[in-house]
């Protein structure tokens, strides 16, 4: 019992102490990001790691630090730089990162499924206007400090994770112009409908209601579908034929001597 108590105490002690926010790590983080992305505009190339002084990375383009003379990165604003490549998972080393803006670039590939492990403390994530594909990671629901999540104009498919109800601090949310489908989590219903527009089958508030159960309706929908398109042509043809037979053939019967026997006198 004493051993268990010690273990519990040790566990509590360790869990209450803050994680180590290493500062040398942030330099490594930026170097890796610089190396992992194609940079036709040369902005990342301007990051010069030659003379390492206190806070030298704080002067890099796109880098904002917690304190001006300490190499601890608060946010990275790398929008509109013509960057190419996959999502830079090297950002994992920027352990104090709270803001990430990669918008308006040429990123492609998936958003990492374990993104909340890579950057757990993000308050603002903007990946809009890129070519990210695959599904929205469920894992994002663990990033509970998110205030703004902008995924507009990518090629993301699948559903909006229902666990997004856990994102209680969200004041900005946009997934317009993707390939998303399925129900919109109820916690997001107060966002404008335009923030969900341009997808493949998103339903639920603020958009139109979702059908009660999609599987049962499908066969009926198909038959009604047939009734709507090809059946209407058949109906029209039938009507014309019936009209012709009803009015032309009796004339034949009446006027033709051979068929006269078959005519029933009313």
């Amino acid at each position: 019992m004493a051993g268990n108590t010690k273990f519990v105490l040790l566990f509590l002690l360790l869990s209450s102490s803050s994680p180590c926010f290493g500062i040398e790590q942030d330099i490594r983080c930026l170097k890796s990001v610089q190396g992992s992305l194609a940079d036709p505009g040369g902005v990342l190339r301007s990051w010069d790691f030659e003379n390492e002084t206190n806070g030298f990375i704080c002067r890099f383009t796109g880098v904002e630090c917690w304190h001006p003379d300490e190499n601890k990165i608060l946010s990275l604003r790398l929008g509109n730089l013509g960057l190419e490549g996959q999502f830079p998972v090297a950002l994992q080393n920027c352990s104090s990162l709270t803001g990430l803006d990669l918008s308006n670039n040429n990123f492609l590939g998936p958003i990492p499924q374990d993104i909340s492990w890579v950057m757990p403390y993000l308050t603002s994530l903007d990946l809009s206007y890129n070519s990210f594909s695959g599904s929205i990671p469920h894992n994002i629901s663990n990033m509970t400090y998110l205030n703004v999540l902008n995924l507009q104009h990518n090629q993301l498919s699948g559903q909006i994770p229902p666990q997004f109800t856990l994102l209680t601090r969200l004041i900005g949310f946009n997934v317009a112009d993707n390939l998303l489908s399925g129900p919109i989590p109820s916690s997001l219903q107060n966002f404008s409908a335009s923030n969900f527009a341009g997808n493949q089958g998103l339903c639920g508030a603020p958009l139109d209601d979702c059908p009660p159960s999609r599987r049962r309706w499908r066969p009926v929908r198909i038959s009604m579908h047939r009734l709507n398109d090809q059946s209407s042509i058949g109906v029209a043809v039938g009507f014309v034929v019936g009209f012709v037979v009803a009015f032309y053939f009796p004339h034949l019967f009446v006027c033709s001597e051979r068929l006269r026997a078959y005519v029933v006198r009313i």
Binding site: S18, P112, S116
Partner: protein, 279 residues
């Protein structure tokens, strides 16, 4: 500008002296050289004569003289306030050597920046090896925007008078030895964007009044001895455990401890990914 560059000979030649020169002399700094009294008179005379030359009515001349003197008095108040600070600080590196209290205003002092009206807007004393305590008179720097006192060995409490600095954009007291509470009055600093008090020995709770500062972008209260609940409303919805780390007695969202008496807060703390989620 007025009051500078007028020498004794010019005053004799000026002839006319403003009638209210004697009271103006009282407004001048007591510690000033004798010549400063003459400067005041000369300035008053210069203002009065220029106004008269432009055909201004007498009441306008007195108003101008009064305003002129008032402006000079305000500048002196700010110099006095900073001089009080200097008196309270030990300065082994002599960074405050240029802080000459006999000057008209502190705007020529190193590490002090003024605006076009000769009012102090910046005090930059980061990394200056200063010891000692702050003074309440700092609250008199009405136009102060940046108060940079980080990385020193300053002790004592944060004066609540800092809450009067309603134009403050940045308050950096981090990496010092401040003790005592974070004053509630800091909630009055509605233009504050940067509040960095980390790495001190501050105690007590985090004032809820800070959540009303909507301009707040960067908050760092880490590495202190703060206690109680971490606010998460208002501007504090932007702040993460990084802002509050290493304050063992803090509880609530943003820490690993729920506050006593409260239900377990939601959302649950972060858990490492399960094997199927990792790539």
């Amino acid at each position: 500008g007025f009051g500078s560059g007028l020498r004794a000979e010019e005053i004799e030649a000026d002839g006319r002296r403003a009638k209210s020169c004697a009271p103006n002399l009282r407004l001048c700094r007591k510690k000033a050289w004798p010549l400063r009294g003459v400067e005041c008179a000369a300035a008053a005379a210069a203002v009065g004569s220029r106004a008269a030359a432009m055909g201004a009515p007498p009441w306008a001349i007195w108003a101008l003289l009064l305003l002129h003197q008032a402006a000079r008095v305000l500048a002196n108040t700010e110099g006095d306030a900073l001089h009080s600070l200097r008196t309270n600080l030990n300065d082994p590196n002599n960074v405050l050597q240029s802080w000459d209290p006999t000057l008209v205003n502190p705007c020529t002092w190193f590490h002090v920046t003024c605006n076009n009206d000769n009012s102090v807007i910046r005090v930059d004393l980061g990394n200056a090896a200063l010891f000692g305590t702050l003074v309440p008179q700092l609250g008199q720097l009405k136009n102060l925007q940046y108060l940079e006192l980080y990385s020193n060995n300053i002790t004592g409490t944060i004066p609540s008078e800092l809450g009067n600095l309603t134009n403050l954009i940045s308050l950096d007291l981090y990496l010092n030895n401040f003790t005592g509470p974070i004053p509630d009055s800091l909630g009055n600093l509605l233009k504050l964007r940067f509040l960095r008090l980390n790495n001190n020995s501050l105690s007590g709770t985090i004032p809820k009044s800070l959540t009303a500062i909507t301009a707040l972008q960067v908050l760092d209260l880490s590495n202190n001895k703060l206690s109680g609940e971490v606010p998460s409303t208002g501007s504090f919805s932007l702040f993460t455990p990084i802002s509050f780390g290493n304050n063992p007695a803090l509880c609530g969202p943003g820490t690993s401890k729920p506050c006593p008496g409260a239900p377990p807060f939601s959302p649950p703390p972060y858990n490492p990914p399960t094997p199927e989620q990792s790539p």
